[in-house]
Amino acid sequence: MGDAPIRVEGLTKHYRGRWGRRVEALRNLTLSVEPGEIFGLLGPNGSGKTTTLKLLTGLLRPTSGRAWMLGKPAGDPQVRSRIGFLPEESYFYRFLTAAETLDFFGRLFGLGVTERRRRADALLEEFGLAEARHRAVGTFSKGMARRLGLASTLLNDPELVLLDEPTSGLDPMGTREVKDLILRLKARGKTVLVCSHLLADIERICDRIAILAGGSLRILGRVSDLLARRDAVQMTVRGLGEGALDALRAQARALGGEVLSVEPPRDRLEDLFLSVVRGPSAGGKSS
């Protein structure tokens, strides 16, 4: 618990609405994110996901409760140099080019000229923006702006990455790239906290999830544990004929089981889309 990159205890945030009315955005949230895991913060709009991220990054101050990141109080400027944060739907400075934008963020991190250029070039290449490096960000599509945002998030090679709706505005290919990126970050030992309301995106990449609703934590646990059905077993088998299937059904019944369904497995729509758009090789690889 002491080494948890993110630790939150009893975090509560009240806003003052119109006419001084109190709006409770987050109520008594307690959780921790373990090193090297991908943690998903899920919930409908207005559930408190973004408020939690803003409290962690110091953009908001908690009404009560405390939060720590990388062992220091949330909002500490020293901690902020070790994290990467991607705000929801960020568009950056319209008249700066992509290269200038990354150079600017590099300056904010206190990186030297050579290091800034090296990292910016590598990230622009990685996110497919090398050709657009001298284009003004204001002319970027939503997906390009999102990719630039992700590049700027990783500029300081952060230990902890906070992503607010990272796939918002992206097409299926862009979404897949972001998910692959998150998995690559995990493989490099980074801790990632992802906020999203797109459940399919989160399901396949997160180790643990927390679901917020109405500002309260409703459930917290490992994805595999939360989604597993204890009363049923699914088996995917290749190369069986109809006769063999009948024998399997009979065997299952003989052992006291109830056969609920026997049907060919279905591809995910995302995989089908990618295989159509990219060609069969990419689709095969992703499925």
Partner: protein, 402 residues
Amino acid sequence: MTRAFALARVTLLEGLRARAWAVWVLYALILACLPALLSGIPPSAWGRSAVTTAYQAAALLTIASVTIAGARLVPRALESRVLFAVLTKPVRRAEYVAGGALGIASLAAVLAAGMGFVGGGGLSLSASVRSTAYSRQTGTVEARHETDGTVSWTCRAASPSGALRLVIPVRAQTWDGTALALRWEGGDPERTENVPRSVRAWEEPVPPEAWRDGAARLVVSVPGGNPREALGEAPAGRLLASDRTFLLPWCASLLVAWVVATLLGIAAFVASVFVSWRLAFLAALTFGICGANRDLLHQMPNVLTRQTLQTTFSRAPHSHAHDPAPEEAANWIDTGLSWAGRLLSALGGALPDLTRAQAAPTLARSLSIPPRALGSLALGAGAFGCLLLAAGVLGFARREFV
């Protein structure tokens, strides 16, 4: 501080790419239209009016652009959410405020410098064309020459035996109507044939309007003579352009415009932390107007007396004795306006007396800013700037970004 400079650089780049070209094009258009705009101005006052108008346009465009840029800095960063990205980097909020203020100051400097360059060149050119044309039409040449606090001009063709030298001491009271001091150099000034007829008229006090500001011109008429000879070796139209003394006051005036624009830009930037950008822009502009018209505002409570109202309503004092209702109404209006005047005066009093360095919205004193005024300007602006920055840092540090 590196981060503050990075933020300042981005603020400057965004500001320049977003609106600088439009401001400069607009200014160039205004300059191009100057001959048409000032077509009704007498030739002797044309140069002064042109310089004054060019300066006012440059100052107003700089102040308006920079104030809008300052007011929209935080709201735009919030709209695009880039503020979240910036403040979650290792940037202190004080650094953000300092960077924004530096960016606003540098934007104002670049805008003012650009307009100064365009305006200086344009004015020299237009003055040259105007002056030459005038001399061709009427045989009268115009020249403006100002050195070390005196205006002097030599007319070699005035007399075969000597030159007429005109010396005007430039003092604070000169625009109240000091006569031109005429002095002969060589020859006998008492001999009638040595004195051109037109010069005699100058023995009368010069009307203040004729040379009220530093760009006023001395007009020398040489009846039947060649205007170029009257100026000796200097062609008439080139005097304004080649006169180095023109550049220094022009730059000093733009410096004042830069200081005012920077302060109002920062005031709008700081105000936008607390209120909407439109309100911040209006507040900063009101603040500036109050500062610019401080003298008027200070007098307002005195001016708005019952007597003034009575005069305004064209009523004789004795008629009020039989008419209590209008008197009661006048009392209310009198009290209300007096308080409004006091309020505005107090608001204006919060600004350093920047415009006293200029003393007037015309180029009159701005072209002859004394060093002491520049010193007080720097001190006042520095103190006021520090106050604004302190308010900005405090406000920004407390602000939450929902």
